[in-house]
Amino acid sequence: MKIAVCVSHVPDTATKVKVSSDGVSIDPTGVTYIINPYDEYAVEEALSTKEKLGNNSEVVVISVGSDKSKETIRKALAMGADSGVLLKDDNPRDSFAVAKALSEEIKAQGCELVFCGKQSVDYDNTITGQLVAEMLGYSCIPVIVEFNLEGNKITAEREIEGGREIVETVLPAVLTAQKGLNEPRYASLRGIMTAKKKTIEEKPAADAESLTEVLKMHLPPPKKAGRILGTDSSAVPELVSLLREEAKVL
């Protein structure tokens, strides 16, 4: 079976966000980019599924983005993925247009099982995997922390408010990975060396229109620094009375 993993190339989570002069995106100056943290769980699950399924399975990594996204594809190759595809587009797209490009490629490659992250930590939409599934007519279980495949039957656990749901579905399917699903492996030195030699196929991302448009990016109003009421429990009565009378939250 051919398994696809969709990976996004995102600013490091420690990034201090500044708005760029275009007014609609972040200023990339000095920002380090990494593989989206949730996508590492997706890559790991794809690799371990491939290992369980045996020899004639393979894992293809797909990303929509600019040339820079190759770094992230390479990271997944170093972990052990077999091949990589960059669907190139230098212009921003919304999740819908990203999903359109991904689904066209997944269809062309004939992948029946697709892993995404539950969320890309840049635009935080949490929907790309579901969109891809629906565009392809695949089943979808988002935000999974456990995954089991038997024949074409999938049983997964997903994290929701107040507990976990056990969900059943069938292939072909898209799953989106939540932290807790697995422990992503480190790329071995050998993995890194082989990844350097693997070619990343590049093609233009399928044309697709964004259905939403960002008009403006702005920073949240800075929180005014609060008051330090004291250095020990003698400050507790004042704290409680402020919470009751000023904040009115108790």
């Binding site: 930590v121 279980i141 932290k179 259905l211 990016m217 920073l219 609060g226 004291g230």
Partner: protein, 322 residues
Amino acid sequence: MANKILAVLEQREGQLKRSAFETVGMAAKLASELNLEVEAVVTGNEISNINDIGSYGISKVIHLKNPDFENYSSSGYRDAVTDYANESDADYLLLANTSMGKDLAPLLGVKLNAGCIMDCVNIDVSSGNLIATRPVYAGKALIDVKPKSAKIVITIRPNVFKPVPGGSSSPQIEVREISSPNLQTRVVEFKKAEGKLDVAEADIIVSGGRGMKGPEHFDLIEELADLLGGAVGASRPVVDAGWRPHSEQVGQTGKTVSPSLYIACAISGAIQHLAGMSSSKYIVAINKDKEAPIFSVADYGIAGDVFEVLPALIEEIKKIKA
């Protein structure tokens, strides 16, 4: 021309959730500002509090009913809601940005060829057009977004739009029996976390960090959370060390929360943690290091030893609750 807003509501175990009433309130408000019709649609079996929708501002409710809808089925709910959305020709679908909303919204988006604007914290229609504001980069920035498609699916962040019940009018409820729903993807079991309130739904959160020194000291955090009717949260190292379950992690790779009150105990306030909680209405920090970055977002702080301050705080709260 836009003509109708559909509030797509969530029930679990036969009860509409608080976030469902937030959705009703928001849909009703938008409808009156844009001069549109508004209806609510809910997929489920028996729903005990369905009449309460009326007092939050929507007078027509479509109940898409089937015994198999007692549990969530993304394929079944998607098809039932899509059919109704097509029939009623609604242009705006509004959902809560809960686990179910995040799953269902994009499926409906593809079916209806509607763009999705997720996790909105403000919706402005003063210009006559809809502009939604949503956090990106875990709340480090916000974007104003407008739809480009004729139809649009919007989800609103829970806990942000507090619904205000008005009158007590009973809504008109139209029950539609859905025959042989599509159960290709379905929940077969729900494993409830033992009686605990989820951080993402709590109005008060008491969170502990690495400075709590060990899982046994979370008794203090739990006791305070229980007293306040709140939930327990945790920083990532605490979860990584296995002191607390991942479902309690707050931050960029955990949950994003915006409770009325967030009490951070022995948490330094790393950027990834702040990303998940800095939109809380009030923040209290207890940390022995007065330079800790958590104090830069806290409304009130005590720069002291958590093991001395927390017991005193618990006693003080007991006094006022007594």
